[in-house]
Symmetry: D2
C-alpha cells in the first residue's frame, strides 16, 4: 500500500451562510428580502490540497463580498439571485468548472396596524423556509444550468382522514391497525424546474399551494400515499417542474390511554412524541424528462 495510490477525489469549497438582507425603499411602501446564501465552487483545486498553493483558491471572503455586492442591484427572487451568482462564479476563472448556490429565504409579513398593513414594519413568518439551489456547470451559453426550488419546516397536521392498516405482521410487529389517526409531518420539498427563466415567485407559490391542498385533501391510507399525492399535485399544476423530492417525517401523535383513570378517550387526547419518528422519502417525476443528477449534487436527502 504505497502512499502514491492515494489521491484527491471530488471536492468543493465556498462560503456558507452569508446573511444578506436587502431593502427596497424606492417607494414609501418598503419591501425586504432576507436570505442565507451559501456558495460552493468546483474545479481544479488540487494544488491547494496537496501543496497549500492557493493560486486557484478564490477566497471564501471574496465570495462573501460578491454576494453583498450583487445584492446592491436588488435580489428579485432567490432563484434569480442564485442564477446571477452561480453564473458569475462558474465563469470567473478557467480553472473553475462550476458553482452551486444554495439559498434559504425567510419570509416577512407586514404588521397590521388598525387593520392596515404597515409600510415599513414587518413580522417574520414562522418556521417555514423557502429554499433554492442553483447549479451552473460551464461558462456562457453552453453552460448546464439547473434550478431547484423548495421549502422546509412547513409543519402540517390532519385531525382525521388518516388510516394505517393492512401492513405485514412478523415476530416484531405489535402496532395495532387504525382507521383514524392524527397525521402530522414537517414538509421538506425540493423540485427541479426544466427552465431557468420563470416567474420564480409565482412558480413557488403555485407549488406550495399544490402541496398544501393535496395534503389536506387526500384521505390518507399511508403517509406514502400523501407524499405521492402531494408530489403529483405539484407536477400537475406546473409543466416546468420535472421532478419533486419529498422528505416527510411522521410526527407521531399517540392516542393517550386514559383507562387507568377511569376515563375513555374517543380520539381526543394525544401525546406528541419526539423520537423516534417515521421518515418517508420519495421522488415523484415525469417519465419523459431525463434525470439531472448534477442538479442535486451536494443537496441532502435520498433519491
Amino acid at each position: 500500500m504505497p502512499g502514491m495510490t492515494i489521491r484527491l477525489g471530488r471536492n468543493q469549497y465556498g462560503k456558507a451562510e452569508v446573511r444578506v438582507v436587502a431593502v427596497d425603499r424606492s417607494s414609501a411602501r418598503h419591501t425586504l428580502v432576507d436570505l442565507n446564501v451559501s456558495s460552493s465552487l468546483r474545479g481544479d483545486f488540487t494544488a491547494a490540497h496537496t501543496a497549500g498553493d492557493n493560486a486557484h483558491v478564490v477566497a471564501t471572503d471574496t465570495q462573501k463580498n460578491t454576494v453583498f455586492a450583487f445584492a446592491r442591484d436588488g435580489i428579485a427572487s432567490p432563484e434569480a439571485f442564485g442564477l446571477r451568482l452561480a453564473r458569475h462564479f462558474a465563469g470567473a476563472h478557467d480553472w473553475i468548472t462550476g458553482a452551486r448556490i444554495g439559498i434559504e429565504s425567510y419570509g416577512w409579513s407586514r404588521i397590521p396596524v388598525g387593520g392596515r398593513p404597515h409600510d415599513h414594519a414587518f413580522s417574520r413568518d414562522g418556521g417555514e423556509v423557502r429554499t433554492a439551489v442553483v447549479t451552473v456547470d460551464g461558462d456562457g451559453p453552453d453552460a448546464d444550468v439547473h434550478v431547484l426550488a423548495g421549502l422546509t419546516g412547513l409543519v402540517v397536521l390532519k385531525t382525521t382522514g388518516s388510516e394505517f392498516w393492512g401492513f405485514p405482521r412478523d415476530r416484531y410487529t405489535t402496532l395495532a391497525e387504525t382507521r383514524d389517526r392524527i397525521l402530522a409531518t414537517a414538509v421538506t420539498a425540493r423540485w427541479r424546474y426544466t427552465s431557468a427563466d420563470l416567474d420564480w415567485d409565482t412558480a413557488f407559490a403555485g407549488a406550495r399551494t399544490a402541496l398544501l391542498e393535496a395534503f389536506a385533501g387526500t384521505h390518507s391510507l399511508a403517509l406514502q400515499q400523501s407524499l405521492y399525492a402531494m408530489g403529483e399535485a405539484a407536477l400537475e399544476r406546473n409543466p416546468d417542474i420535472a421532478e419533486i423530492r419529498l422528505s416527510l417525517p411522521n410526527k407521531h401523535h399517540f392516542l393517550q390511554d386514559l383507562s387507568a383513570f377511569g376515563l375513555d378517550n374517543p380520539d381526543i387526547v394525544y401525546h406528541a412524541d419526539d423520537r423516534p419518528y417515521g421518515l418517508i422519502e420519495g421522488t415523484v417525476e415525469r417519465d419523459d424528462v431525463p434525470p439531472a443528477p448534477a442538479a442535486w449534487e451536494g443537496t441532502p436527502g435520498f433519491c
Copy 2:
C-alpha cells in the same frame, strides 16, 4: 465548618414538557390545542432530599398522567388549563404548599383549500409561541393565585423609523451615530393579570396586538423607547394587566460597506449578525398595583 451547618434551602420539582394535544371533534369543523406543559410542586420535600424518603414525593409520572387526564375534559385556554392543574396539585396533599404550571402553546391555522379554510387540516404557525404561567400558593378560596400570559419568538423588524444617537462616548466608544437604521428584535413578553377569571384568549389577542402596533407605530430613538411604548400600550389597552416584562434582543442589521467595490449603499444592503447582540430588558407597570414576586418565581428573566 461542621457539616451540621448545611441544610436544604428552597426547592421544587415536577414534570417538564408534557406534550399534550387535544382535539375537539364535536363538530365537523375540528379544533385542536397543542401544549407543552410543565408542572412544579413546592412544599415539604426535605425527607426525600436528606433521607431518600419519598412519602411526600408525588411522582412526576403521576403529574404527567394528571395533565393527560385533565385534558380529557377539554383544555379551553392555556391559562384556564393551568389554573385547573395548579389548583389540583396545590390542594392534593397537606405537605404541598403550592404549584406552578408553565405552558407553551403552539398555534395552528386552517389550511386554505380553494380559498376556504379546511375543516380538519392545519399548518403550524411559525416560530412564535404563546406562554402562560399559573402559580397557586395555598388551597381553596384563600389561595394566592397568579396568572402570567405572554409570548416568545415574535420576530419583528422595521426598515426605517429607528435612530440611535446622543449616547455617551468614552475611550472604548467607536460606534457612529445613526439617524436611520434597521431595528429588529425577537419579542419575549410576559404580563401579569390581576384577575384569575378572564376571557383569556381575548385578553391575549389584545395584548399581542398592542405590542405589535406599538412596535410598528413608534418612531424609535432607542430600543428602550420601543420597549416602553410596547409595554405602555399593553397596559393602556387592558386594565386587568398590572405589569409587563419585556426582553428584547437587538438583532443587529449592519449596513454593509460596499465602497471597496466602487458601490454606494444608500440603506439597501445589510448583514444580519448573530452575535453579539444587544439585550434590553424592562418592566412597565402600574404604580397602584402591589408587586407580586410569587407570580414570577422560577420564570427566567431579569426584573
Copy 3:
C-alpha cells in the same frame, strides 16, 4: 385608568454573547481562553425609555469593545475577568448603579500526538460549559460584590445504584416502584462564593470534583437525594461556598418491554426518552450565611 399610573419598573440592558478568545503565546506552549461574555448595566435609564434620550445609555457596542480591550491584558479566569469588567462598568458613570457580567467558558484540551500533548493544537471539550456570574452594586471599596461559579451540560449516568419507591399513590398514579433503575441527568449547578479573592480555577475544579464524586458515590433512593448529596459535598469541600443551586433533569431511561418478542430483559435494553422529563431543583446552603438575592438577579432558575 389614566395613563399617568403607568411607569417604568426594573430594567437593565447590555451586550450579550461577546465571543472573545484570548491566546497566550508567551511561551512555545500556548494556552487559550474561550469565553462568551454578556454584560448588563443597571441604573437610571428612564429617559431612554420614556423620551428616547440616550445621554445615559453607554452603547452596547461600547460594552463589547470594552470586553475585547480588557482581554488584551489576559483573561486569567472567568471569575477574575468578570470582576474586572463589572467593577469597570459599575463605576463608569454616576447614573450607573451596578453591573452584571455573565460568562460561559469553553474548555479545550491539548491534542495528544504520539502520546504527548501538543503545544498549540487543541480539541474542544464536549458539551459541558463552565459559567461565572459577577454582580457589582456600587463603586469603589464599598461596592457589594458577588461571584457565582457553576457549570452546565455535564451529563452523568449510573447504570445501577438508583431506586425509586415509597411515593404516594393517587387516582392518577400508574408508575411501578423500582429497586434498580438507570439514573441520568444533565447537571446545571451554580454556587456562590463568600469571597471575591480566590484561586478561581482551583475552587472550580474542587466543586466540580465534589459534584461528580457525590453523584457517583450516592446510592440514590430519589434524584432529590442525589441533588442534596452533591450540594452538600461541594459545601463541605470548600468553606468559601455559601450556597449552591442545582437543577437536575431526570433524563428517563425506560426499560424496554421485550416480552412480546419472547425475550426477557433483565436490565439490559433501555429506551432513552426525550420528553417529558422530571426536573428537580434545589438549593443547599449554610445556615450561618446571610442570603444574597442580588447575587442571583437575572440568573435563570428557581430558588
Copy 4:
C-alpha cells in the same frame, strides 16, 4: 402534459432516531452503549404510494421493535449492530431489495472517584459523535454490503501554524494575506471500509487518531491542505479504508482591531465568529479501489 406521465421515482422509508441504550452487567464493572439508530428500507413500495396499499410496508414501529429486540443480545459496536440489522431487514421479504442503517454513538467515560474510574457511574463525552452507516443490497452471501464509519462534532483549533496567502485577487477581494492565523474547524468525517469483518472499535480509534494527529501536525497553508493531510493519514494508517470524505467548516477567529483604544494586538485577542463560515469539502481516496456510490446513498454531503 397528461397525468399518466407522472410516476413514482426513487424512495425509501424507515424509523429514524431510535434511542437505544444497552447495559452490560455481566461483571461488576458495567459498560454501556448509547445509540441513535435510523433504519431505511428500499424495495417495491409503489402500491403504498399510489393506492395506499400497505401490504409491502413493514411498519416503522416494527422496525423500532426490531432494533430493541436485537439489542437484547448485545450491541458490540455500531458497525456490527448495523450489519445485523441491515442484513435482517434486507432479507425480510422478497419485495425488499435493501436496507440502510445509520447510527450515531455517544461516548461515556467512567467518573473518576478518588482517582479511580467508577464501576457504574459515567459522564458523557462532549459534543463529538461517532457514526456508522451500513448498507446492504440483496440477501444472503451475494448481498452487496458497505460499511461507513465516521465522526462528527470534533472541534479542533490551532493557535498558530496556519497561513493563508497567494490567493487570486479580483474586484471583490478585500481579505489581507496572513502568515499566522488561528485555524479552527468542526470535523465531520466518513470513511468507507472495504471489509465487512473488522475489529470495528480498533479501526475507528486508529482513524480518529490519524485525523487528530494530522490536523495538529500539519503546518497549514490552506484548510484544504489540512483536509488532504488528514484524509491521507487515515488511509495510510489503515489499508481497509478505501476513501474518506471530510467536511471542514472554517470556524473563523478574527484578530480584533484594538488600535482605536490605543492598544496593539500581537495575535492575542480574537473574535470567534458564527456566520458566515468557510466550508471545505473533499474526498481522499485510493486510486485502485472501485467507487461504491451505493455506500453513500442518502448520506448528506458533497462528494
